[in-house]
Symmetry: C2
Amino acid sequence: MGLDPNAPLGVFDSGLGGLTVVRELRKALPAERIIYLGDTARVPYGTKGSATVIRYALGCARHLAKRRVKALVVACNTVSAVAPERLRVELDIPVLGVIDPGARAAVAATRGGRIGVLATASTIASRAYPRAVARLSTRAEVIAQPAPLLVPLAEEGWTEGEVPRLVVRRYIEALGRAGVDVVVLGCTHYPLLREVIEDEVHARIGPHVRVVDSAISTAADVSAFLHDRRLARRGEGSSDGGVELLVTDMPETFRETAARFLGADIGDVEQVDL
Amino acid sequence: MGLDPNAPLGVFDSGLGGLTVVRELRKALPAERIIYLGDTARVPYGTKGSATVIRYALGCARHLAKRRVKALVVACNTVSAVAPERLRVELDIPVLGVIDPGARAAVAATRGGRIGVLATASTIASRAYPRAVARLSTRAEVIAQPAPLLVPLAEEGWTEGEVPRLVVRRYIEALGRAGVDVVVLGCTHYPLLREVIEDEVHARIGPHVRVVDSAISTAADVSAFLHDRRLARRGEGSSDGGVELLVTDMPETFRETAARFLGADIGDVEQVDL
């Protein structure tokens, strides 16, 4: 395909949630150069209709394609749920999403076969998780719960205390009644609230319930893909490929959060117009 | 200006918040035809930068101008705070916002001169309220508090119970310490949470504190403006001008909320692409 191992990896999300995937990518593939695009002018995606999400996702993907990325990591469950085929067809570069890796982690973790998924309304309406799980297991079943308020809570930094706790408690009620033994964080924003979610899941559903996010298995997928295709970048010694951050709005606010989230070595955040 | 009294009034907001203004407009001016546009594909506005908000507002306003509205009511505090001049200059039709009417209601209601304002981050960054209040009173002072999570709570319908109560409680803390005797609902979404806000304000700051929203005084402003310019539509008997609803995404969800909010006489909701 003529792709260059030294070209960067493109990663995008509606806002800052995708940084949870970037963090794992940097652990798994420290030599890779990463360009991250957060569509902060149009966040959130998950409350919007699939046609709108596809339009926004194409805008992000085309911008990253122009920067000659060797592959595109869709670090957003809503986009991974509704748009991966359209992106593959339109862009002619490899596109990797977060739904399949999350489903795989969930199927590996469940014992009873009842998998709870917290996700945005759009992701759940797409039925992407039940389909992904059905491809992996004939006996596992998905119980889906929309959890839309977790995105603004994460974006605003309300990740601890009574408010996120009560919101999470309400969202996991039906999962508890359904007797799930795995809860998938089906939105890349939700790992920012992982501690509260885990506490509530263990206290209300049971201490045996596993909370899985797709970031680690997505990073493993991307790594396997790059090595298979001989597209992995070779690091020189302990070289760090670095992260370039782009947003469509509010670069300063984003920079503060990203620095806190990814560590101190964050440069400027560039604002781009899609 | 060649404007036609039988032409409709254009009203827009980022989402469903502006319906609080439409409700008051219909009480004050029942014969007027109203076209309401909710930019649900890009909601929320209040967490975004002013250049982005101006771009979005121009898109909404141009669409309504094409439908030959006789005046534009900006039923969104964020847009009223950052974009009214741009809209007036670009569109060449009268533009009425919600900031000045809200400031006037607040100045009329305060005794001690300390006015609390709950609003979005963008509205507060614009300093539109302190400027509007300073034009009306030399002794009144604005204490501003960003309250960004109230928009997703209102959009998701979480308008009662413990979660909105705790969120409101945290947002009004500093207003209580500052000794305000008026709290302005400085975002058209916030009246959807009015009951919780009023309860908390009365319990935590004091039973004498007045909660004011700009919808009623905005409707009074629009009425005075139309009558002054001889642009008011004459009703025939008890005729109802009706409301036409447009959104940029998710028409079905919007329709349900709008019907609950404005009464049963809501027709279809049309989806438009800006």
